[in-house]
């Protein structure tokens, strides 16, 4: 009899504790950070961690995250995905099922983000990847969002930029036919350009194959086609060769590229030939103004180096999450219901002013946002030139 009552008391106490812990947990907002802290790209994970930490500091300083007049403490659940697809899946499963996160931020690279997005979608947990540009991350997944633009998107953006900046009507394209990224981008640019200037306005559409080093024949064709601008969405090693050879063949018009140009190696290999050229990318540290500059200065003061695009996009992703939670109109305490509400709220975000540009979600998980046009300065630095929208 006595033992039985003890057992009853214990069960009751346990149940109470469990219940209490449940209510306490519902009071805390848990956000999962699925980051590449080790493995091939530890720098990416570091930027993610630092940017998320800075956001958390802000929230803590404000006394918690205010949702409908009520302040909730926030906890970040940081998991390392080792830059591996299977570890990203494991980390996502753990934070969703065991830790009970409301939202997951990351993984960053498409290799991790595509499989982890599948997990988030299956468990009906909203996820936002700051950096993954592969269309598959969000495709047919209502619970997965991203904070960056997609690869193909740069085509129309650059077509618009060249048209409005230079008033050109004839363009040439030179791309690697054996590589997915340049090939896709070349096609999207051509489509957009011909949409603006009519069929046949891409007067030269020339290609080469990976590992080619001599482009003289293609460039001679391009030069004699009457093109006013050359678009080449190539990687840094080819950019150097294409630009130098074009100049040696007497090409004096602008040459424009995409975010694959955005490596410090570009200028190192290309030298003075690349000065004054333009390309599109996510964000530019040099010449940044306003909130972007404030973020860069703060990050630099705290961690000792200029943040890269991963950190900037993570910063924006954290604020998108914050806005989505605040837009839900109050948390119910029921994790399943809250996740659904956050997802719905995120899909409704309009004209969000991020440091990497203004974003609007209209239905899908991909924001329509503006790209940054960078000009390679006369000192060889990547300088913010203007923001360009599709």
């Amino acid at each position: 009899m006595r033992t039985r009552s003890w057992v009853a008391v214990c069960v009751l106490a346990g149940g109470l504790a469990f219940f209490l812990s449940g209510t306490v947990q519902a009071q805390t907002i848990k956000i999962g950070i699925n980051a590449e802290l080790t493995g091939d790209i530890p720098k990416v994970g570091e930027g993610t961690k630092y940017a998320a930490q800075m956001w958390l500091d802000d929230v803590r300083a404000a006394g918690g995250l205010a949702v409908k007049g009520k302040k909730y403490p926030v906890e970040l659940i940081l998991e390392d995905n080792e830059s591996k697809a299977e570890s990203a899946v494991k980390a996502a499963t753990k934070m969703i099922t065991e830790d009970g996160v409301l939202v997951m931020v990351g993984p960053q690279a498409s290799k991790q983000a595509v499989p982890a997005g599948g997990i988030a979608n299956n468990y009906k947990t909203p996820m936002i990847t700051p950096w993954s540009t592969n269309p598959d991350s969000t495709k047919n997944r209502p619970y997965v969002f991203r904070a960056c633009f997609l690869d193909p998107f740069q085509g129309p953006v650059l077509a618009n930029f060249i048209t409005s900046e230079f008033k050109f009507k004839k363009a040439a394209v030179l791309y690697d036919v054996a590589s997915d990224y340049p090939k896709g981008l070349a096609e999207f640019f051509k489509k957009a350009w011909e949409g603006l200037h009519g069929p046949g306005s891409v007067v030269a559409y020339e290609s080469f194959t990976t590992k080619d080093t001599d482009f003289s024949s293609q460039l001679t064709k391009i030069k004699n086609s009457g093109a006013q601008v050359l678009f080449t969405p190539q990687y840094y090693n080819e950019v150097a060769l294409i630009v130098q050879q074009a100049h040696q063949l007497g090409w004096k018009n602008p040459i424009v590229g995409s975010d694959s140009w955005g490596s410090a190696e570009t200028v190192k290999l290309c030298g003075k030939d690349c000065y004054g050229l333009f390309f599109s990318t996510h964000y530019a540290a040099a010449g940044a103004t306003g909130a972007t500059k404030a973020f860069i200065d703060r990050y630099k003061a705290k961690y000792g180096y200029v943040p890269d695009d991963v950190a900037a996009l993570t910063w924006d992703a954290m604020h998108l999450v914050q806005k989505a939670i605040q837009d839900t109109g109050g948390l119910t305490g029921d994790l399943k219901k809250d996740r659904e509400n956050v997802r719905a709220a995120m899909g409704r975000i309009k004209k969000f002013k991020g440091i990497t540009g203004e974003m609007t979600f209209s239905g899908g998980g991909d924001p329509s946002k503006c790209a940054v046009i960078v000009r390679i300065s006369d000192k060889g630095q990547f300088e913010f030139y203007k923001s360009a929208c599709p």
Binding site: E206, S207, T209, D214, S216, S217, K221, A240, Q248
Partner: protein
């Protein structure tokens, strides 16, 4: 017309590289009946040695407070690198080919492939996957000749290549060593009986071919200053085609075929969509070979060789 001339200039530069590399293939093949498949990678090694030598020379002239003009640094770089790379060729021969000289041909052929892979991955391990930029020793001067754009580099590349091919031709024709090489190409087994040091002569052949490949590598670096460890593979294959097309062991043939290959690639891209360049260019080469299976200057094996 201007377009045609412009492409002619482009093709001359492009063909120069094929010609210089094809010479090395051709020399080795004529005496050993063996293709040194590592030759494309020796071209790569030569280019990297060129980077090292030129940087050392620049550092040395800065340290010694001697102002060397840049053209002199380039000339010295070419000479030193040719010298150093010839040793790479000789080592490849000593390590890879001499132990297998009497082995089945297939074993000797795959030796070249393996040495090629070792050179590529060795470079990768040593310097990493980062691309190396060739120091720009001479500033590019572009001349506009009535719509045809020619640079000082293009002129230099074509002239140096022709000069080296001519020098090799003279060496093989006029010197005693050259005579020994020709004799070995004619009959490999009888020559040692005449007191010709076989091993030394074979090493010399490898050294000559490698030196030319090094020259090609440096000229390549001048024109296309982005180097990577795998740059020699495709080049090696294509130059190999040129060597066959030129005819077995023919210096003139290899040079001409190298330029022909360059012309075919450039002009096919001029006329047809550039996506189809290699498809059409190499179909044409295949057609030529069907008509002349022994190449331009080659003759059936029993006949006299022209080296």
């Amino acid at each position: 017309m201007a377009v045609f001339l412009q492409n002619l200039v482009n093709a001359l530069q492009w063909g120069s590289f094929y010609a210089l590399i094809a010479l090395g293939y051709s020399m080795v093949y004529s005496i050993l009946m063996l293709f040194n498949f590592a030759h494309g990678d020796i071209f790569m090694v030569g280019s990297y040695i060129g980077v090292g030598v030129s940087m050392a020379l620049i550092a040395l002239s800065a340290w010694g407070n001697v102002v060397l003009p840049n053209w002199l640094i380039l000339v010295l770089t070419i000479l030193f690198s040719m010298f150093l790379t010839s040793f790479v060729g000789m080592i490849v021969e000593r390590v890879g080919y001499r132990p297998l000289r009497n082995a089945p041909r297939a074993s000797a052929a795959i030796t070249g492939l393996m040495i090629g892979i070792i050179l590529e991955t060795g470079n990768l391990a040593l310097l990493g996957a980062r691309r190396v930029s060739f120091p720009s020793l001479i500033a590019t001067a572009t001349y506009d000749l009535g719509g045809v754009f020619v640079t000082n580099k293009k002129i230099m590349i074509v002239l140096v290549s022709l000069l080296l091919a001519l020098a090799l031709h003279q060496f093989v024709r006029r010197t005693k060593w050259g005579m020994a090489i020709r004799a070995m190409a004619f009959d490999f087994s009888v020559v040692p009986l005449m007191g010709v040091p076989l091993n030394r002569m074979i090493a010399l052949t490898f050294a000559l071919g490698s030196a030319l490949a090094a020259a090609a590598g440096i000229l390549f670096g001048v024109a296309y200053p982005v180097l990577d460890p795998y740059m020699g593979i495709l080049f090696g294959w294509k130059a190999f085609v040129a060597a066959i097309l030129g005819g077995r062991g023919s210096i003139m043939g290899a040079t001409l075929a190298g330029f022909l290959l360059g012309f075919t690639e450039i002009f096919v891209a001029m006329i047809f969509p550039s996506t189809l360049r290699d498809l059409i260019a190499y179909s044409i080469i295949l057609l030529i070979l069907t008509v002349r299976p022994h190449g331009f200057f080659g003759e059936p094996y029993s006949a006299r060789l022209r080296l």
